[in-house]
């Protein structure tokens, strides 16, 4: 009761701006606080939703329906979800062949697929099974032929950019069934999802707009139990309609293009604390029923990524290639692009400087999720092929 009263009191406190000095002293929330106020989303819910969607397919005996495809853009976590689902079912989860194997024909990899017909197989990165190279499409063509004719049940996940390219070049959309995809996360769903994340481990955070002090979310703790008990498709949207969606959340949803991981990352970017709150949380001095205030930077004050000034054909083509292949090493970029090593490295350095590209595992370049909305808009404006999301 006390906790609930405290939470209502916190939410009802109007226009509670940080004190004058605190305003200037607001700093970005440190990692340990971010991991409590906005922890990484759990894939389990997505895996469960996928399981529900595939329930009928799981029991099908119709050989014409043996293949199921899930397509999603960067930031939708579709590939990880499908892989997790496959592991949960204890089915073989097969990663894509290496670029060298693709160019050489990938025969050994294809033979590996022709295993026990009774056990479904999962390919969580179908988009990794081709290269935009004149020798890089034949393997995908043979794989699609096998998928069309095989009786073995196959669950495939494909990045939306690879899907868009392969649909034009190899008509993959005609050869495989209509794919499943995730619904976009709009303002109403974000209104529900973000505070749920903050309370996942019993965290007690109130999020306030640093510009005007108003509470970002109107949901009180007393609603949590009702929400959890009634969580089902359509409920989040109904709750959002009832609770209303603030401008900040609407802008976040729109900028993120409905992609949950992008919204989550930008949400974390917005969070700030006063030095006092930071110390108190770190030292655990407050009682367990006290709520911590986290300040949310106004959207207008965020430094959104933009294309570098000197963005020419090389930079644009490198970005587009990275999107089509969900990332690539320097060697693969040199293979796929008509530019020299130095030109490609110079372009990558520019893009890293603009936070549009990062390097993963020391060798693979990828478009950052932070920069993805800006990059997508840019390549679309330049007339390059884009995905449907």
């Amino acid at each position: 009761m006390r906790g609930r009263l405290a939470s209502v009191r916190h939410l009802l406190r109007p226009n509670c701006k940080p004190n004058g000095d605190d305003c200037n002293a607001l700093s970005s929330a440190p990692p340990y606080l971010l991991n409590r106020a906005a922890p990484a989303p759990d894939l389990e819910q997505m895996v469960t939703a996928l399981e529900d969607a595939l329930h009928e397919w799981f029991f099908t005996r119709d050989p014409k329906k043996s293949v199921k495809v899930v397509v999603g853009p960067p930031g939708s976590n579709v590939e990880r979800t499908v892989a997790a689902y496959g592991r949960r079912k204890k089915w073989p989860v097969i990663g894509p062949p290496s670029p060298g194997e693709i160019l050489a024909g990938g025969h050994a990899w294809l033979e590996n697929l022709k295993g026990d017909e009774l056990t479904p197989v999962v390919i969580p990165r179908l988009g990794g099974c081709y290269l935009r190279h004149h020798d890089g499409l034949a393997f995908m063509g043979r794989l699609l032929d096998w998928l069309e004719s095989s009786r073995r049940r196959c669950l495939l996940a494909c990045d939306s950019w690879a899907w868009a390219y392969l649909a034009r070049v190899l008509h993959i959309d005609a050869m495989l069934p209509t794919p499943l995809t995730l619904a976009p996360i709009d303002g109403k769903r974000l209104q529900f999802w973000l505070p749920t994340l903050a309370r996942a481990d019993g965290g007690r955070f109130v999020f306030r707009d640093a510009g005007n002090g108003r509470s970002i979310f109107t949901r009180a703790a007393r609603d949590d139990n009702i929400i959890w008990r009634n969580a089902q498709p359509g409920f989040m949207e109904a709750f959002g309609e009832w609770a209303g969606v603030g401008q900040q959340i609407k802008q976040l949803a729109a900028y993120s293009r409905g992609l949950p991981e992008i919204a989550w990352r930008w949400w974390r970017e917005c969070l700030q604390v006063t030095p006092e709150t930071d110390n108190e949380i770190m030292q655990g001095v407050r009682r367990s029923d006290e709520w911590y205030t986290v300040w949310v930077k106004p959207w207008s004050s965020l430094a959104l990524p933009a294309m570098p000034q000197q963005c020419g054909v090389v930079e644009t083509t490198v970005l587009h290639t990275l999107l089509l292949h969900s990332g690539a090493t320097t060697k693969v970029l040199e293979l796929l692009l008509p530019f020299g090593h130095n030109e490609i490295r110079h372009a990558l350095n520019q893009l890293v400087g603009a936070r549009l590209v990062k390097i993963v595992a020391g060798e693979r370049w990828q478009v950052t999720l932070f920069g993805y909305p800006a990059v997508r808009q840019y390549v679309e404006d330049e007339g390059f092929l884009v995905d449907a999301f």
């Binding site: 935009r132 190279h133 004149h134 020798d135 890089g136 499409l137 390219y165 034009r168 070049v169 054909v313 083509t317 587009h320 290639t321 796929l336 692009l337 008509p338 840019y378 404006d381 330049e382 007339g383 390059f384 092929l385």
Partner: protein, 268 residues
Amino acid sequence: MTQIESLLKDIREIDHVRIAVVIVVAWSLLRLVRWLLPLLADRSPSRFRLYLLPIAPLLQLLIIAGAVVTIVPLIFEPSAERLLVALGVFAISLGFAFQEYASSLIAGVVTVLERPYRVGDWIQIGDAYGEVISIGFRTVELRSPDDSVILIPHKKLWDSIISNDNRGNREHQCVADFYLHPEHDAQEVRQKLREVAVTSPYLHIGRPVSVVVHEKPWGTHYRLKAYPIDGREQFNFISDMTVRGKAALADLAVVPVVARMSVPMSPE
């Protein structure tokens, strides 16, 4: 007083300052248009470039027309009779002294209004081929593939065939030619050349790709036709298709045809 003298206002009544201001303003506006529109076209997304650039000649025409309409009443006594006299004098002058210039000028106005070509188009007039970078009132400026600027009088419009590759669109068809020894699998080569085109990073994937095959007495001529995203990259696109096409055909062990060169015999 002669008829011509009666056309003009008394020189003491002519507002020279106002005329000078109009000229300066018109000149400044012309310079602004010539500087601003290409800058905007460069800074905007590429898909807007060929909408912005063609506006320049139209704006220039309007500015000059506006300046003339403003200045003429300041110099000439306005009346229908006097205007007819002025036009008569003007026509005779044009007929004898400036007919070539006038022909180009009139062709320039027709070009701006009819738009057989516009800024950003790749055109061929006679032996000259290049991108239209500016349409003046007397000449059109082309930038050739070798980065030379070619000035062509608009009067060429009356009696030359003008070939326009893109007609206001960003992309236009590019062709890479391959000449092969006749002993090969044509179906395989055709398929491979198509893959060469569809895997080019310059390709506009929404436009068709085709491979046209002609059998010749000396071998087989393949024409790989595709569209780049941006016509300014046409030469890079053709080079990319050619380089990768050669590599792909070499992997298929297809032999190209080599042209025999005739070497002139020495007098001995």
